[in-house]
Amino acid sequence: MSGFRLPTGGAIDRGRPLAFTFDGKPYLGAAGDSIASALIANGVRIVGRSFKYHRPRGVWGAWTEEPNAIVDVTRAGRTTPNLRATVEPLENDLAVRSVNAAPSAAEDRASLLDSFSGFMPSGFYYKTFLWPRWETFEPLVRAMAGLGRLDAENRPPADAPHFNARCDLLVVGAGPAGLAAASVAARRGETVFLVDDRADVGGSLVHRGGAIEGGFWREWAEAVCAAVRAAGGRVTTSTTAYGVYDHNLVCAWERRASEPDALWRIQPKKIVVAAGAIERPLAVPDNDRPGVMSADAALAYLRRYAVLVGRRIAVATNNDSAYAAAEALAEAGAEVEIFDTRAEVPATALRVTGDAEIEAVFGRSGVTGVKARGATRPADSLLLSGGWTPTVHLYMQARGKLRYDDSLAALVPSVPVEGVVVAGAANGAFTLDAALRQGHAAGGGEGPAPNAPQGLYRVTAHWPKPDAPGRRWIDFQSDVTLKDVALAGREGYVSVEHLKRYTTLGMATDQGKTSGVNGLAAMAALTGRTIDETGTTTYRPPFVPVPIAVIGGRRRGELLNPLKRLPLEAEHRADGAQMREYGGWLRPAWYGPDDPDLAVQRETKRARDTVALFDGSSLGKIEVIGPEAAALVDFHSYNRLSTLKPGKIRYGFILSESGVVYDDGVTLRLADDRFLVSCSSGHTDAVVTRLELWRQDRFNPARVVIHDTTAHWATLTLTGPRSRDLVATLGLGVALDDQSLPHMAFTTGAYDGAPLRVARVSFTGDRSYELSVPVSRARSLRAKIMAALPAFGGGLMGSEALMILRAEKGFLIIGKDTDGSTMPHDLGVAGPRLQRKDEYIGKRSLFLPVAEDRGRKQLVGIETLPGDAPLPTGAHLVEGEGKARRSLGYVTSSYFSPTLQRPVALGLVADGANRIGETLGVYHLGAARRARIAPLVALDPEGKRLHA
């Protein structure tokens, strides 16, 4: 026991006690506590175990820099792993568990590992575990590694909103410098966004205090916040600006009490980084003992939470800032002694030993004493202040550069970055008055800055000496000691990035906030370079770990790549449609609740026997309009379309410039200057883009326009031998005889006062009528058709039945029956390639050597041998046996045809067109069988059914 709660003071509510457990033991804290402050108040010293050696560890810091107090927190039965106890507010009934320890942090079974630490230096795993193989040891290593435990039942909802914001000035950090900057800008009328990761404003003022403009700092701070709001800005606390991206876009994570956390994407005209600074440890021997803490953190625990971290406190420092902390702790009742590495020490009423370095820290499970200048002093706590490291992460992410300032013993910003200004402690201004001046200037202020008493901060760098004896921790969480840094240096891992990667220094969840500078200073000393020459590792976002669910936002389930919906989805569902995704569209796959195969077979057969209704609304319908429309569609398409007569329809391909078949579809010539280009459902956006690019690049954009009307029209397709008879009953007022409306022609009319288009195209091989009406008329037309279907023995048909119908006819589906190398002549459509003299997309590529290669895969039919089951789609056609077996291609479509009463299949096969009649091997997941290459069209090769 060392820490305890004082009877008065602090920003806690003693009237609201909160019960919680730590490692199973019950404790009481108070509203306003952090988990860490409550633990310290209860005298808990060991809060965790170190990652590698399982050394007992206590709380080091009081905020996000905390390396040791990482805990799993269970709230209402759901556990969140790896929370910083120093940041997390205490709540009633929290169950807090230490990580990396079993059964508890205080009594950890793996603590023996520390005895073997001499044989586990940095990178030892690169040098061993070679025999028999790494994987023999890996499971053990994996089980030992990791911090918290994932709670499989904790599935956070996708409910974090993402807010976009713009402002004149974003101020990161509402401490003195940030407030001063915000004040100037707001009073000038600028929109200021002031964010701070604490729940309150004030930053270091909250625990260090100070008088500003002659009064209590808080009054001044509140006036600044009021001015910011009055000028249309925002003051957002509990919000961490964690990353700067291109164009100085800043992302910030806001923790909200009664709503889901939010992500802010802020595009400011200017950023003031006033993020403060973080106190460094001194690399004294055994500086990782529980009870060793940052001096500033001890002050924060005192002032914020009324927790005194010890009764007999040793303070080791190389700078002036620890004196205020020491004096406050003494005033609160602790016995405090200061050991200053400097010979000249500031004036203080406390006992100070100058020129003193801590030579030993005693107490395995908690500090019991320290040794300095050869003498041992009892102590229950050791506070370390090794100087301050400016929090320059955002500036560095914005491509800043640092220089080492020896008078500050700190790396500070050295070059201007457009749109970013660093102020206050983040810029090396470690006194209140200097921070206010810098903040004032950063905000663009002229004249005097907010006034504060003159402060004094002096520091003498006291970097780790590479050959210093004992175990001196540089990175607490990663368990990297000075010896590890020395070893890395010896082995040549001297670049800071190599040092980081070889030793894992700075790679733990605190990302080196307390360790980075000590590590590189040690490496600088080791290699005889300056700190500037040694350089820093890249500062990477996020500044603190940010919940993945917050960055993922609401993009989940339905909102992730949202499906496109048919206008008649509700009607289809009411009729029992089973909806599936096809090319980004949700479409009826089949209808009815019974066995899918049976349903699909039934729908297929009915379509061949009588008539079926199919919803074709998702097919792309792109209008190309204007005097140059014909020229554009000609250039865009493999098949010439300008020769098409108005009222007629032509099927064709479009190619990529590399000559590969990109899509297929029919084009209707609506008028001389108007074409309707249809395309696969999933390709519409891309085809529109292609057309647009060429329209603007190659044609006169004033003489041709592209208009995507896909979403405007519903298309209901009737197919089957009775389709015409059924359409005739609908009273559409259009002539349906084959003279007036032959195959590959269309006619227009009116339906319920709206335009109607009736097109005779067929993707089934049977007589078909596509009825297109504006979406507003779709329900009524469908109802009319549904009422008429029973009289003809017809019914609904989903996409799966259509797949069989078209496969029986050898009609291909792009991307399924073609692959990314299929050229039009592989599909038997060589005419335009041989005949067209004019330019079209992909033309040149059709004459490259690859286009003439032997063994190109061509689309063919595949017949199973008598009695065989349908081939698995994805099976390969092969030649040869055993090891010599070689793939010739694969099955792309395969079904059982209810009409032919046998399987039908399509496939891409090398030289397929020359193999018709050949029997080849079929390979599927280790099993082999045989099948015969057949003509593409299995049903009605003469095409009689089109006109039946």
């Binding site: 040098k127 991206y245 399924k816 994805g874 280790g926």
Partner: protein
């Protein structure tokens, strides 16, 4: 001097405070001339040097690195190794790499932590399952291990994967490649460096190549920030910077540079056993030995040399992760970074002679160079030593863009690599 790495050496060194470990590789200063100069001290460049020395017995070799070795894409990738490819040409290349990886730790006497815990491509729709079958069969026919999984196997091996009917992409099955897995990326660079150094190769760090020395239209060396270095032949393996460097030799390449992001969560105890690539969301994920969840996804949409990545793709990748594994939403993102990758139209590498005599290329690996490092090294070493292609690298020559004989995995298997 290199010390043999073993548990015994560690014990012995442990007793004497680890004072006796030598440098893993010498900090070489460049000599005026070498038989071979390799530009780029990433995995491919270091492996090339190693195989030149080891396989071809050529010891007059220098690797020139502008920063620190392994600092480019070798040190920024998501460490997956695999050979689950569709076309025989790709399989020959990537399975050569995987087979070499399988013996690499012992060959280099450096634990590269190859962990063959398998890689699963998760498919969702029946159409994707058909393509998955096509891929699994192709792999088996090409002699690579592949299993076609159904939903039950996925549930068994990945208990955390979303089975909710509200999911946008239900896991219906997929292709499992048992020999796939991960390796420790830094160790691959350091291991090759140390082994190459042991064979006499000079590894020169902090030395930037600023131009090529040309003589009678042929490349005879490089100009660097440490002076001119002559070479019998020059190999270039500078992923992400290939266009920039080759422009100095007047060569333009079929490459666009894009940023590829990667990110890790805080470490947790083991909760994910294999590498998973989710076709629906494009997110891929594995868990490192340290316990971090290692996450990657698609390229940033905007071509860029900026080595960091921007928020729109982070949102897509991480929402993809929680769609796949909703429980991972409780974890926090710890670190995010980006690398610049060479994106080639068919997403296959460029290996072969450059249009300038004396200059040889190993680039264009896109997002997948790490897994190919041993093969990239073997093939570029072969090119340099013989002046002509190894049969495995022949199809990957630059000339395929003239003939149109691209090797586009996405074309065959629907999965872009």
């Amino acid at each position: 001097m290199t010390a043999r790495y073993s548990a015994l050496t560690i014990l012995r060194q442990g007793l004497t405070g680890h004072k006796g470990w030598p440098q893993a590789w010498r900090k070489a200063r460049p000599k005026p001339a070498y038989d071979f100069v390799i530009v780029g001290g990433g995995g491919h460049g270091l492996a090339t040097a190693y195989y030149l020395a080891r396989t071809h017995g050529r010891r007059s070799v220098a690797v020139i690195e502008k920063g620190w070795i392994g600092g480019g894409n070798t040190g920024r990738n998501t460490t997956a190794v695999r050979s689950n490819y569709f076309y025989p040409e790709s399989v020959a290349l990537y399975d050569l790499a995987l087979r070499l990886y399988e013996g690499l730790s012992r060959e280099l006497n450096f634990n590269v932590m190859l962990s063959q815990r398998g890689i699963l491509n998760v498919a969702h729709t029946p159409g994707q399952m058909e393509i998955a079958a096509r891929l699994a069969n192709a792999m088996q026919l090409n002699g690579v291990d592949a299993e076609l999984w159904g939903p039950d196997e996925i549930r068994k091996r990945l208990p955390l994967i979303s089975q909710s009917l509200d999911s946008r992409y239900l896991p219906n099955g997929g292709v499992f490649h048992p020999r796939g897995g991960t390796a420790r990326h830094d160790a691959v660079a350091w291991g090759y460096a140390r082994a190459a150094d042991g064979l006499g190769v000079d590894i020169v760090e902090n030395c930037e190549v600023t131009g090529f020395v040309m003589q009678n239209g042929a490349c005879v060396g490089v100009e660097t920030t440490l002076g001119e270095i002559r070479a019998g032949a020059v190999g270039v393996a500078v992923a992400g910077h290939s266009s920039r460097l080759m422009a100095k030799a007047g060569v333009r390449l079929p490459i666009h540079s894009y940023t590829l992001q990667a990110m890790v969560s805080e470490p947790t105890k083991p909760c994910l056993d294999t590498v998973v690539l989710h076709l629906g969301t494009g997110t891929y994920v594995s868990q490192s030995d340290k316990g971090e969840i290692l996450i990657g996804g698609g390229l940033d949409r905007v071509p860029s040399y900026g080595q960091r990545g921007n928020p729109p793709m982070q949102e897509i990748i991480l929402s993809g992760l929680t769609e796949m594994f909703p429980a991972f939403g409780q974890l926090k993102l710890m670190r995010q970074w980006g690398g610049v990758v060479d994106v080639v139209p068919d997403s296959s590498p460029l290996i072969g002679p450059a249009p300038v005599p004396g200059l040889y290329l190993n680039c264009g690996w896109g997002t997948g160079g790490f897994k190919a490092i041993p093969a990239g090294g073997v093939l570029l070493a072969h090119l340099l030593a013989n002046g002509s292609h190894h049969e495995i690298s022949r199809p990957f020559d630059l000339d395929r863009f003239r003939t149109g004989r691209l090797i586009d995995e996405a074309a065959g298997s629907g999965i872009a690599h």
